[in-house]
Symmetry: C2
Subunit: 306 residues, 2 copies
Amino acid sequence: MGTIGELGEFGLIGLLTRRLPRGPDVRLGPGDDAAVVAAPDGRAVATTDLLVEGRHFRRDWSGPYDIGRKAAAQNLADVVAMGARPTALLVGFAAPLTTDAAWAEGLYDGLADECRAAGASVAGGDVVGADAITLAVTALGDLGGRPPLTRSGARPGDVVAVRGRLGWSAAGLALLEEGRDGPAVLIGAHRRPEPPYAAGAEARAAGATALLDVSDGLVQDLGHIAASSGVRIDLDSSAVPVPDVLGPGGLRHALTGGEDHAFAGTFPAEAVLPSSWSPVGVVAEGTGVLVDGREPGRGGWDHFRA
Amino acid sequence: MGTIGELGEFGLIGLLTRRLPRGPDVRLGPGDDAAVVAAPDGRAVATTDLLVEGRHFRRDWSGPYDIGRKAAAQNLADVVAMGARPTALLVGFAAPLTTDAAWAEGLYDGLADECRAAGASVAGGDVVGADAITLAVTALGDLGGRPPLTRSGARPGDVVAVRGRLGWSAAGLALLEEGRDGPAVLIGAHRRPEPPYAAGAEARAAGATALLDVSDGLVQDLGHIAASSGVRIDLDSSAVPVPDVLGPGGLRHALTGGEDHAFAGTFPAEAVLPSSWSPVGVVAEGTGVLVDGREPGRGGWDHFRA
């Protein structure tokens, strides 16, 4: 089918938008100056991420379909972490004109399928030429009449709990960096995180006081809740789920590995959590995060320095 | 103040967000998983653009403040072209870690000031490291209970009218490419377009049947209205505003030059337009755009091939 440069801007837009299903929240899709997306709550939750080849993904380590799913997932998870229902994505796609059109199709298939998994659609976007493949993904969501689940509502006495994989993506990345090809489940987790999108509604139902998705590492991200809420978080490392497949170093990956897009929240002590959630600590008076009563080493993942 | 790499991700976010005013439509600003933006209509208008250094701007031709204003303007104009009121921007900023923090501050000052001009705020965003400076700007807007002004409503017998500068940015770009430094008003128009944001409300009040902002060139963009509406547009070149400052070639620039973000719309024949609007043609049965009764040459500006 040739390159995206041969297709040209409008040819490429046509090729890609034909692959995108449109859900009922997209009132006006691609093809006009802007899209129109349902926001029945009267407020729109909105978040955006930039992903740059070589920094956030490598084409020799991940195919276009997985890159698309991951790019969508990290933004959809941000919407869910506000206690909102994802409605739509806008996707900016910059690529060299020599890029295979089939690669772009795979990317958009991945974006579309991850949207389907979260109940959203791709409502619009932009395509431009550039030296490096860059994705700009914006996700929108609806709060359904309820207040957002921010990072600032944790209170001393709350329980801290997590839902989803922790450290799997970091372990998979470590394997790729060593040139290894297994365990496949870890490499797969790096290529394509699986945020448990139901976690937002579950946390809401259980009375969550704060919620976020773990994008930079559990300890670092809990630090954001601690700072925003003006509390200390005491993490019990023995309660953090570390499956055998994570191998030696598994606890470190589970505490500091990012990009799995698990969810971490705080809940009133009396909250009844579904069994898919693991209590991993408590909220106390003070500041910062303690792991087993001690200051953790610098961990997490600062996208900007890395 | 050093480089953005020395500041790190969270230091840079802090530096930049402190410069951003927050209007009443931003219910929750930067600092959580996502922003919350007012959408009182129950629908959100949403559009996104990617701008890549060397393709959409040059740092030796434009300073950071103007680049910020232009990046915001082109997205805010898209929202206005839907007949909506801009509420908020989300800004993704990718840059080499060696970029001066002062450059980034100038960029965000420009984004903030253009938002102010359009009545919007910067609600959130992302910063990442990259080899080339790249901006991903998403704009949101509110329809105020009215249907969107799309490209598909033009009807035979309608009048075509424009509001704003046409060809100024293209003329300014031509001067820069020739290494010239004047007329300053044209080079300024290239560096910093001034979309007449009031045009959306004016077009709505006058009963516009279709509206868009001229980003790729008048003839090409009117072609989008013609195609979406299933009509022909007959453009009268003698009615297109071509001020003396555009010099020789001014009509060509006015017909094919993009990036001024003027507005072009179609209106019922009996519509009363403010004097700031110039009638430039009529809508007829058929397809495509005729200029003075003839097929125009290929013009406009295909971002993707260029």
